[in-house]
Symmetry: C2
Subunit: 334 residues, 2 copies
């Protein structure tokens, strides 16, 4: 666990957060929008785990959310704030993960088109899932440059609005609603654990705790193979991952301009776990809680199973962020 | 789907049911006992499945029950009705499945010993699970004869009370509480689907529907490789399976003297599904509902995914009976 460097730059951070303008009201407003279309996912308990970790655990099951991940919350919040003019043009993003499916379904519900830029190399099952929600897929070369160029081209040709997967105020406010519900359903939490990739869920959770349960601390957990948040928060500036490698494929992104200052100011600390630890945590969740959780979704729990965080006597919320995984390629199959 | 032959022997059946004496009050009483120790498992929905099958589905998640299966309900109900004298001697059964674990935990909670007779060939993980609940395991040769002889010997030597996995009134009344909760949480069901092996859950569900929601019909679903219930109900007498073969290893048992007449009188019909259909149903549940369900637990849903039952416009409860499966040997891995 590291110490987050905030003291020296407090003014700049406060300004940056101010600039974000994600107030309590913004999150409450997002929740109204999200509630109309998303599931209020259950909070599950486990006597076995409570005994094992000598605390009280509250698992917020976003793997049971529509499209199988919390990403649907942010997508709904962003799409339903578009103007009629923008809705007529459609939305776009480049993603081969849960955000692509979330944006596709949100667009379908809002009655607009979604143009999703995906690498040629994306698995057929992911292409099918996105198309299944009625989105149009635009294939490109599997490089970041090609994805960005292709997306820019799509925007220019169609006028579609870019919905960034995390570096977007409305996305962050939407993701915050998962923690808001968790806090409402499981009061007086000492701690909430979330995974961190680009930081949308992490920033939203940190803000939700700050507004709705100021005593609750938020700790992010990150794969050691993609530890840009850990390094960035330690030195106090964004240090993007160069070639991140982890099984937790939902957490490969690096922090953005909007997520970084929120985390810097509002996160208690950050813990890293390696892939073997993530696999153990994931398998333990499947075996004991009977829940299909994807590797990225098992990352926060891995901090406990790997013994990286002591929660003795504490009430701890854990967001199980998603459950989308290819059942033909499970990480424990050799 | 077959027609259950009841008309010709109605008097005898009524007598047999009367003899069972599992009245509404017996199930209500069981529920008080069960509620004190078991989870009230959630009922989950799926918009995707509702649309696909053009009905309303209500999944009662007994895979999230303690020990991972509904079997805990019957075990609690039986063990907590033992006399102080019996409790001093302990309980026994022969099983390598969910009943063994359920009885072990129920005995532990009641403060008595459990002596579980298991075949030498049982997987190490199952032995470990039973021992993990504090039970003593007695190994025997892997034949039905050896299991029965060994159990009789255990009873003689220790005075332990045999708790049969399904052919036992208290077990049937305990299993009935799953459907009772489902009916309370999801009113006005047209249909409840359950798997059938020895018939404990099936008989309990049929009685619960009869008492608590008389308009609700109960349909059992059985693996075609272990279709003794289908055949027995068709001809009107118990025809045990000779060498049952199915992936749904919780459903290998044949109907018993106590379960058969209840099913004969109270079940609407019975449907069979083959192993390939069970695998498809199970995988669909994992992928779409993010729930780990064992093959036996996916059997009722297989009647829908295999197109063997039309539920158009109906409200249908489905009991997902258990979630215990070896993640190293999933049936779709070749």
């Amino acid at each position: 666990m590291n110490t987050i460097k905030t003291a020296v730059e407090d003014d700049r951070i406060t300004q940056a957060i101010e600039h974000n303008r994600i107030t309590q009201w913004v999150i409450e407003d997002a929740h109204q929008r999200v509630q109309a279309h998303a599931h209020r996912t259950p909070v599950m308990r486990s006597t076995t785990f409570d005994r094992r970790f000598d605390g009280e655990l509250f698992f917020k099951c976003e793997n049971l959310q529509r499209v199988g991940a919390f990403k649907f919350r942010g997508a709904i919040n962003a799409v339903f704030q578009l103007s009629a003019e923008d809705l007529a043009r459609g939305v776009t993003t480049h993603s081969s993960g849960n955000h692509a499916q979330a944006l596709s379904l949100a667009a379908k519900i809002a009655g607009t088109r979604a143009l999703i830029v995906m690498p040629k190399t994306a698995p057929a099952v992911k292409l099918a899932a996105v198309r299944g929600y009625g989105a149009e897929v635009i294939l490109c070369e599997p490089t970041l440059e090609a994805r960005e160029t292709t997306t820019a081209q799509v925007m220019e040709e169609t006028g579609a609005v870019l919905i960034h997967p995390y570096d977007n105020h409305q996305i962050i406010a939407g993701q915050a609603t998962a923690a808001k519900e968790l806090i409402e359903d499981s009061p007086a939490l000492d701690l909430i654990l979330i995974p961190v990739g680009g930081g949308g869920l992490a920033a939203g959770t940190a803000l939700a705790a700050h507004y709705f349960s100021p005593e609750t601390e938020v700790v992010a957990v990150e794969p050691s193979g993609a530890d840009d948040a850990y390094r960035s928060l330690e030195v106090g500036q964004i240090l993007p991952s160069v070639s991140p490698r982890t099984l937790a494929d939902g957490l490969l992104s690096s922090l953005g301009q909007r997520t970084f200052p929120i985390l810097q100011h509002r996160l208690r600390s950050i813990v890293t776990v390696d892939d073997a630890e993530i696999i153990t945590a994931m398998r333990t969740l499947w075996e004991r809680m009977k829940l299909v959780v994807e590797p990225s979704g098992a990352v926060p729990f891995a901090a406990l199973t790997a013994g990286k965080l002591d929660i003795t006597g504490k009430r701890v919320g854990i967001i199980l962020s998603g459950g989308n995984i290819d059942l033909d390629h499970l990480p424990w199959a050799s």
